[in-house]
Amino acid sequence: MNIIETDKNALLVTPEGELDHHLAGKMRTEIDKKLGRGIINIIFDFSHLSFMDSSGIGMIMGRYKRIQKLGGRVIIAAPKPQVKRIIEMSGLLGIIQISPSVKQALRKL
């Protein structure tokens, strides 16, 4: 997993492989270390993610709640079909936007 700070006060988080309860725990810890201190937005780049289950949804929801308090936004970029399907099933789309690419996600901020 790669985490970098970009312009627009955003954290660009790029997990690889499979986002299950195991990886979700690591992502939660790493991301929460960086929130606040100027960072108020998160872009999840899911272009390298081949799998996600409900633990990923829980992790995204949890980060959304924190970001909301900071007045920022969470955007999911480039999810593959399996991942997109889980996101759609979860109702997450009511509160979090999907962008086709990181570039376009950045433009939305």
């Binding site: 299950d20 309860h21 725990g25 829980g58 992790m59 889980i86």
Partner: protein, 144 residues
């Protein structure tokens, strides 16, 4: 065709990937579509994660995973010997979670149900839970 496997692993989060990989390898002979494969892997991941995060609140317990192929039907059973579920009907309700403070959203059983043809849950308080996922791979859903 007919095939079976049976294994047991420690309820550690790194073993969630193991359970998905074994399941995927087990059904290869049925030549599943990409969609069928990811549906079954996701359902197994939900059941195994539940056994790991909910069944053993005081530590790490063993999780059982077994599979059976009967014709085109696959049966995957995930079992634990943990605390059990006191109200199965409520647990299976969409969005019900016993652990909202752990960032759980209560989607696990709903995902298992929509990604399998049928799921069967047996549980006894204090002695554990057995979840069986049933899914037909390939072919017309009507034919056996």
């Amino acid at each position: 065709m007919e095939n079976k496997f049976n294994m047991e692993f420690m309820g550690l989060s790194e073993n969630e990937a193991l359970a998905r990989t074994v399941t995927a390898a087990f059904i290869t002979s049925l030549d599943p579509t990409v969609e069928e494969l990811s549906e079954l892997k996701t359902a197994v991941s939900e059941a195994v994660t539940n056994a790991i995060v909910h069944a053993y609140p005081d530590g790490v317990g063993m999780v059982g995973l077994s599979g059976r192929i009967c014709g085109k039907k696959v049966y995957i059973t995930v079992s634990d010997t943990g605390i059990g579920i006191d109200d199965i009907e409520r647990a299976r309700e969409p969005l019900y979670t016993g652990k909202p403070e752990q960032e759980r959203s209560g989607l696990g059983f709903s995902i298992m149900e929509s990604f399998c043809d049928q799921i069967d849950v047996k549980s006894k308080c204090g002695s554990g839970t057995v979840v069986t996922l049933i899914k037909q791979i390939g072919g017309n859903k009507g034919e056996e």
